[in-house]
Subunit: 357 residues, 2 copies
């Protein structure tokens, strides 16, 4: 059987499990190869799945009688609820029952549950939260998307951690986003190699010397949306505030648009004239189109969908997880991590001793 | 004589000194009280001033035969060129010859020259770079602008430094931006008081307890543009990347608009219909309207105008410097810094011993 098995936390997210089942129904229509393991309360999920007429041979319900709410403290909830759906889902991945994990639940709980159960890629110290951003297309061949990491798992990072983010980002960009030879940029307060604190200067030096890294150097905040790099490397504190800042800016723009819309006939007409373009722009900025953000660094891929995901976003996240699961991401990351650590000890000729540090 | 004396680095900025003189001509038309001390090469400035018909009794040229380019290393250039216009301007302020300093030159050189010559407000460890941002108006009475600090002078900050940023921001917002009881927000990765690293948790605790501070708590990236706080406190590393990130986003939006404009008749018509609103929006996001960003923490106010400032931006920056110079900002900051440090030692009853720490 050729089907990819995606383990889904069916109880995670603002509108779970209803929206998960609706997303599944859509995903089955678009892909013949996806198989879903829906983790959650069977008494709730089974009737919904039946009503949505999910094809019985393409999914399985795995019982998990507890779930974790968005407002709970992730660490405490995970420990007091061993049978929570995200814990059960992570253990399924650990046991080799599935190829990728998808959750629209609490980000903190997802990262922690995966850290508890799923082995990391050798050389990776901690799982990393990534975000896929819209980026200006300057050439027709530009992908129009970039990946930024970390966006919140590790607030302040060492140089080695920043390099590992670059390696994870490169492989995701190449294997999943299908970007050839992705360009890597390091977020800093200036372009010069000597800018920023010591770990940034050191990370810049390491990235310049690392084989297989198409490093464009330091990039500034203004470059992030401009598409000058496909992989945007940053410490989690910056990445988190920046990501939310851009989201806030986009929201504010939409808000302003709405206020304008109500204003007068002239504005209404103007917006109507522009509506095809607005639609196109909206599509590029819409998280539902991207589906979800990867959590990288584990042996299996984890996709985190937005808590407010609608059925379309869930469908896209499921298809993304299926696609990514087929790409041998962990093996590619491991190989490049090994190159990095070997280079540290013997200038690149390495004997592999340090490859699982 | 009631006139405010604004010391201007007439050689600083991409289009100096021409644009400085043009800005001065405009400023004299709008204000009867401004007096300008134009610091730079008299052989270049005098003919320009004459040609622009600047009124002879309202300005003075102070000779400085050197200047610092945008591409020079600020620290080295300041020391190798003691007679550079920004050094001369800072010494004029030190000697009490002027009420405020304005520069459109290198930010680094401006901050360092001021640090070398101008005394700080007691309790302030380092000068701070602020930025004035557009903010959503949720009510008619909202100012539609907020101040964010630091945006690049101190990359990682202690809790005390963050509190001092709040104090400087509050007083600027109240005295110059004319915001009653300004709301202070601390940029963090979540709203809970326990979020972020230790210095952030401590800064949150200190701000909650500090008299005269209208603290709204931690704010996230998404809140920054939304106007939930008038004073946005953050470490310089975050503030710098975020500010430039928002600028980049705004630029990208304009770029997209331009591309749309060339596209077809329907789009052109649509944009034409919306033009009055686009104009209004542009005005809110245009740095030329704000004039400049304050550098705070010194005994006298320093205004840093954008290097790319046009004459209108310079005019607005001059008027801003004049206005701010009349507000006793340093004295108000000092009083609140004293309250803060006294509170540390005796729970608020303080004997003033620690007021100049």
């Amino acid at each position: 059987m050729n089907r990819r098995k995606v383990v889904v936390d069916a109880m995670g997210g603002d509108d779970a499990p209803g929206v998960i089942i609706d997303g599944a129904a859509q995903a089955f229509k678009e892909s013949k190869d996806i198989f879903l393991m829906l983790v959650g309360n069977p008494e709730i999920i089974a009737p919904l799945a039946e009503k949505a007429q999910l094809p019985a041979d393409r999914y399985e319900i795995v019982a998990a009688m507890d779930s974790i709410g968005m407002e709970e403290s992730p660490r405490e909830a995970l420990h007091s609820k061993p049978d929570a759906s995200i814990n059960v889902a992570a253990r399924l991945i650990r046991d080799g029952a599935g190829d990728a994990l998808l959750s629209a639940g609490s980000t903190g709980a997802t990262v922690l549950a995966c850290s508890d159960y799923i082995p990391r890629v050798p050389g990776v110290e901690r799982g990393v939260l990534a975000a896929v951003l819209p980026a200006n297309k300057s050439q027709k061949t530009d992908p129009g998307r970039s990946i930024m990491l970390d966006v919140g798992a590790t607030l302040h990072c060492t140089a080695n951690q920043l390099v590992s983010f670059a390696i994870m980002g490169i492989n995701y960009a190449r294997d999943v986003m299908e970007i050839d030879n992705p360009r890597v940029g390091l977020v800093n307060i200036g372009e010069e190699e000597t800018k920023g604190h010591g770990e940034l200067v050191e990370a810049n030096r390491l990235l310049r010397g690392l084989e297989g890294v198409n490093f464009v150097g330091n990039i500034e905040g203004k470059d992030i949306i401009k598409g000058v790099a496909d992989v945007i490397v940053t410490e989690g504190y910056i990445g988190n505030v920046l990501l939310k800042g851009l989201e806030g800016f986009a929201d504010a723009t939409v808000e302003t648009g709405k206020r304008i819309y109500g204003k007068n006939i002239r504005s209404k007409l103007g917006l109507f004239m522009l509506s095809p373009i607005i639609k196109k722009l909206k599509k590029r900025f819409d998280y539902a189109e991207v589906g979800g953000a990867p959590i990288l660094g584990f042996r299996k891929l984890i996709i985190k969908a937005h808590g407010r995901s609608n059925a379309k976003a869930i469908k896209n996240a499921m298809l993304l997880a299926e696609k990514a699961a087929g790409r041998n991401l962990a093996a590619h990351m491991e190989a490049q991590m090994k190159t990095f650590y070997m280079g540290m000890f013997d200038g690149g000729k390495g004997d592999g001793k340090a490859s699982s540090e």
